[in-house]
């Protein structure tokens, strides 16, 4: 079965793609930190950040629609988490629920806060998407490893990337096998069957983990994953780092 995979555009040749992954991670990290510390309500600063990210996306030759589409997938979570702010923040009332029993007030301060959170979250999402989409996944992991993220964590993520699709395939196939034998039955019954399937999936994943470990041992695994890391930090990487960080800082200092 075919899946879309997260670094599908990582083989393109562009300025952004050829940057050293560690530098990319660091730059985007600083970018995100500065965005987060920008004062709420400074709309001009936010739009400048946005323009900067779009310039970077254009430089990367990645279809802009792809990034926009993927960013939409995250937006509902942000909205869900931040929607309560508009009621919780005290301040000048903007709208009140017309009832004495249920007191519900939307404030101007709450609304500003809400817009602020959504804007910041969206800018950060765009940043991270650009980083992930424009970097080969394994190189990204290796870069994180070089940046002293614990190797065990990196290994877990690498296995997740490899086996997530297989688990998904297995669940799909089980579902198909179930559906082709399903004739009637109540909704509750199907729910119970589904939970059984998840149990089976867990056992299979567990046993597969054992087999994979044996396969690793058979090829001389000694508890440490060794990989080749080809990238070297060059002048263009430092130029990128300097330009982006100073641009973001200038926006922050003068407009944020």
């Amino acid at each position: 079965m075919e899946h879309s995979y997260i670094d599908e555009y990582s083989h393109i040749n562009s300025f952004i793609h050829n940057l050293e992954p560690r530098i990319k991670i660091f730059t985007f990290f600083v970018f995100i930190i500065i965005v987060i510390f920008t004062r709420p309500g400074s709309a001009f600063a936010f739009s400048l950040y946005g323009v900067l990210i779009f310039i970077l996306i254009l430089l990367s030759n990645i279809p802009i629609m792809l990034i926009l589409k993927r960013s939409l997938a995250v937006i509902p979570f942000v909205l869900f988490m931040s929607i309560f702010v508009i009621f919780l923040k005290a301040g000048r009332p903007f709208w009140e629920f017309p009832s004495r029993v249920f007191k519900l007030t939307i404030t101007y301060e709450g609304l500003t806060m809400f817009v602020n959170i959504v804007m910041k979250a969206y800018l950060c999402i765009l940043c991270m998407l650009l980083l992930i989409v424009s970097t080969n996944f394994l190189n990204l992991l290796k870069a994180f490893e070089k940046l002293r993220i614990p190797a065990v964590l990196i290994m877990v993520i690498s296995f997740m990337y490899r086996y997530l699709f297989i688990l998904e395939d297995e669940l799909m196939m089980m579902k198909r096998a179930k559906n082709s034998r399903t004739v009637g039955g109540s909704g509750w019954f199907h729910t119970k069957v589904l939970s059984n399937m998840l149990g089976v999936l867990f056992v299979r994943a567990y046993e597969r983990a054992e087999d994979v470990y044996l396969a690793m041992c058979a090829r001389g695994f000694d508890g440490q994953i060794k990989t080749i890391y080809d990238y070297k930090i060059g002048i263009k990487d430092f130029v990128f780092l300097a330009v982006i960080i100073s641009a973001v800082s200038i926006i922050k200092i003068f407009k944020g």
Partner: protein, 244 residues
């Protein structure tokens, strides 16, 4: 007399739950031989293979390339004995083909250039050099099987141990794989139900059932014995049915 590569004497193994998988099995394999291990489901073929590079350790005696299996010789043995598992999704655990094939050589402590070279040679040997940068989960079953083979070839083993190399393959990919296996001039042990593959690749056959060695001999000698084969849930290979 060619060199004895594998020497198994009176090997027994029970799984942790008490099921006895191999009972007093003895087997010798000589250099450059290709031995087919056949037998019904659950005969203990895979269990036997797992002993050959020390993943499982049964009671009694196994010598491989004149080395006892113990913790000291284990790294060397795993380099010398290339074991390919039946399911490519177990065998291929890294995100990309290159990294999977490089996994063994990197563990052997080769330099970057040597690793790169070993990976390319191994992939070329199985005609998969085009897929070097692809993610493993996007390969077809036939491609995965071939990359699996490359993951151990890159370690330049002296003994190749294959578990069901032709399962899940369409006829063309199966034929391609058989040709690839035939091209490799090292000692081979192949556990399979695909008797036609054995007929084409192997010089000797070992028949296992319920963990015991039932028969051992030349390919034609065993395959002409219909009674023996059918008594152990097997049948005469298709290629031979046509000629008889």
């Amino acid at each position: 007399m060619p060199r004895k590569v594998i020497e198994i004497k009176n090997l027994s193994y029970s799984y942790p739950d008490g099921t006895s998988a191999i009972k007093a099995l003895s087997l010798d394999v000589f250099e450059a031989e290709s031995v087919g291990i056949i037998g019904p489901n659950g005969a203990g073929k895979t269990t036997l293979l797992l002993h050959l590079n020390g993943i499982l350790r049964g009671t009694n005696h196994i010598r491989i390339l004149d080395l006892e299996i113990n913790d000291k010789t284990l790294p060397l043995l795993r380099k010398k004995v290339g074991l390919v598992f039946q399911h490519p999704d177990d065998q291929l655990f890294m995100p990309y083909v290159f990294d999977d094939v490089a996994f063994g050589p990197l563990n052997m402590g080769l330099t970057k250039d040597q690793v790169e070279n070993a990976v390319r040679c191994a992939l070329k040997e199985v005609d998969m050099l085009d897929c070097i940068r692809r993610p493993s989960h996007h390969l077809s079953a036939g491609q995965k099987k071939r990359v699996s083979l490359a993951t151990v070839l890159s370690m330049a083993p002296e003994v190749l141990v294959l578990d069901e190399p032709s399962s899940d393959l369409d006829p063309k990919h199966r034929r391609d794989l058989i040709q690839i296996i035939k091209r490799l001039k090292i000692t081979k042990l192949i556990a399979t139900h695909d008797l036609d593959l054995v007929l084409e690749v192997c010089s000797r056959v070992v028949l296992l059932d319920s963990g015991k060695l039932v028969a051992s001999g030349g390919v034609l000698e065993i395959f002409n014995n219909r009674q023996l084969l059918e008594a152990h849930n097997l049948g005469i290979p298709n290629a031979m049915c046509r000629t008889i």
